[in-house]
């Protein structure tokens, strides 16, 4: 008889929700988190899309520590000496199930863990799982944590992008540097009203999400990001690890300092006080880098399973982790009831993910990582092209006016018409 029906490793989005579902199904579950509390080792850009959270906690808005509802989507193309921004807002993006919220993971994960605990999950904080316990047939039957061996019918690996356990549990290969991005972020405190005013939010409950491509990474694959919290701004830079290591023109910390000083960003954070400097990896390799999702006595969910998508205009991970955690918890409970937590017995989890948006999306966008990784002109080329076109449109200097068609053709020629066509075709295929 095992110590627990299930052990969940990691109290992030996937782990807390999985533990919550298992506890609700009446299973004995142990949630182990290496941070001194949930969220202590976690960081996001970031924003969570509500739909997945709503499926588990229909009234989360009333109790979860969410920061602001995102009412403005902004995307900027930054050249070294210019910035072109799209600002989109709509009624529809504010409607229930289509809305999204900025969050800070320290408070957010603590709330999620409290939901699991209230449902009956037992939680241990401040101890990392050092290794999995495997029998001779390579079946996982527990974990070793803090020198203790704890056994369970199933172990759920929800231990994040830098998992040291998936190699042992499901024989996952270490991700290649080209499949992972690194993010650096600062949390910058500002008065609530100042934040609302600066991003043109309609109220203190609403705010903006903002992505910056181009000079934010000095032309490297990646981008800058900004999310408004209630009384702070999350500002950071993400770059592909391989691209940044090989071709980076400045260290990632330097990129963030330069972004903060950029004339398009500096007024946003003026007089703000940096209160935290954080870093985290982001799995960006897509479905082709996903490990096997189940093994005998073990399953993988969330970032540890590389469930993340970066489309350039949209970055998602937390909603996939929440949905995967939900399915993992529910299907693990069923497998425990059936008395079969072998790889075959856990196929319900894989099926549930295939039927849900999680694997459907990851499947649909499987060509995106390769496309984005080689989409160099998005980061150096197109920002400059737009600059030239916009300068032609907006600058009046008394010289005889040029026809706008000529300005556009001239700017496009710089990039090259065949390159434009190639990128357009590539984007159509991948997205």
């Amino acid at each position: 008889m095992a110590d627990f029906d299930a052990i969940v490793v990691g109290a992030g989005c996937a782990g807390c929700v999985a533990a919550y579902e298992l506890a609700r199904a009446g299973k004995s579950v142990l949630l182990i988190e290496r941070g001194n509390r949930a969220g202590a080792k976690n960081m996001t850009g970031g924003r969570v899309y509500s739909h997945a959270l709503k499926a588990v906690f229909p009234h989360f808005e009333d109790e979860a520590p969410i920061e602001r509802k995102i009412s403005h989507e902004r995307i900027s193309l930054m050249a070294p000496d210019s910035n072109f921004t799209i600002d989109f807002s709509s009624y529809e993006m504010l409607s229930e199930g289509k809305d999204s919220y900025s969050v800070l993971r320290a408070p957010f994960d603590q709330w999620l863990a409290s939901k699991a605990e209230d449902a009956g999950a037992e939680c241990i904080f401040g101890i990392a799982v050092e290794k999995l316990l495997l029998d001779n047939a390579h079946r996982v039957f527990g974990v070793s944590a803090g020198g203790d061996s704890i056994t369970a019918d199933i172990v759920l690996l929800c231990d994040g992008v830098n998992s040291l356990l998936t190699a042992q549990g499901v024989e996952a290969a270490q991700p290649a540097p080209g499949e992972i991005a690194v993010g650096v972020k600062q949390t910058i405190e500002l008065p609530e009203t100042v934040i609302s005013d600066r991003v043109l939010a309609g109220s203190h409950d609403e705010g903006a999400a903002w992505l910056f491509a181009g000079d934010a990474t000095k032309g490297i694959f990646g981008g800058g990001f900004m999310y408004t919290n209630k009384t702070s701004i999350s500002l950071g830079v993400i770059t592909g690890i391989e691209a940044q290591a090989k071709y980076g023109k400045a260290s990632i910390c330097r990129l963030l300092e330069d972004l903060k000083a950029n004339p398009a960003v500096a007024p946003l954070i003026k007089d703000g006080k940096v209160v935290e400097h954080s870093g985290h990896m982001v799995p960006e390799g897509g479905i082709n880098t996903m490990p096997t999702l189940v093994g005998d006595g073990v399953l993988v969910a969330g970032d540890s399973a590389m469930m993340c998508i970066n489309l350039g205009y949209q970055v998602r991970g937390m909603d996939y982790a929440i949905a995967a955690g939900m399915h993992a918890g529910r299907e693990a409970a069923k497998a425990i009831d059936a008395g079969d937590t072998s790889k075959a017995g856990l196929q319900g989890y894989v099926r549930a993910l295939k039927d849900s948006f999680v694997l459907k999306d990851l499947e649909k966008f499987q060509k995106v990582p390769a496309f984005m990784g080689h989409f160099n002109r998005m980061f150096c080329g197109y920002p400059e092209m737009l600059r030239d076109i916009m300068n032609g449109m907006f600058i009046v200097n008394g010289a005889p006016a040029e026809p706008i068609k000529g300005t556009i053709m001239q700017a496009a020629k710089q990039v090259g018409f065949s390159n434009l066509l190639k990128d357009m075709r590539g984007a159509m295929k991948a997205l």
Binding site: N162, P175, V184, I252, C253, S278, G279
Partner: protein, 98 residues
Amino acid sequence: MSETSAVASVDEYLALNKYEVDEANAHIELVDEPNDDEFDKLIMVCPAALYKRNEDGKKFFDYAGCLECGTCRIICGNTIIKKWEYPQPSMGVEYRFG
């Protein structure tokens, strides 16, 4: 050089974070005399700017301000990073915002 000033300021930012530093146990260790090119990759990607060189090119690394992201493990885990573990129980960074 501008890079040095950024690195200096990162240390000041890290001082704002909450840490419980395990003085007795380094959770990341480099090989002796790490290769220059590999080390320079780490300078580019480490979000805590823990990998540094001074004006003479001498290399420095201190795990104390580590954000435990794992980036150095991914890029140099097979080259100049000899050991990469998570810090001991209750040690390391503790995000208050995240």
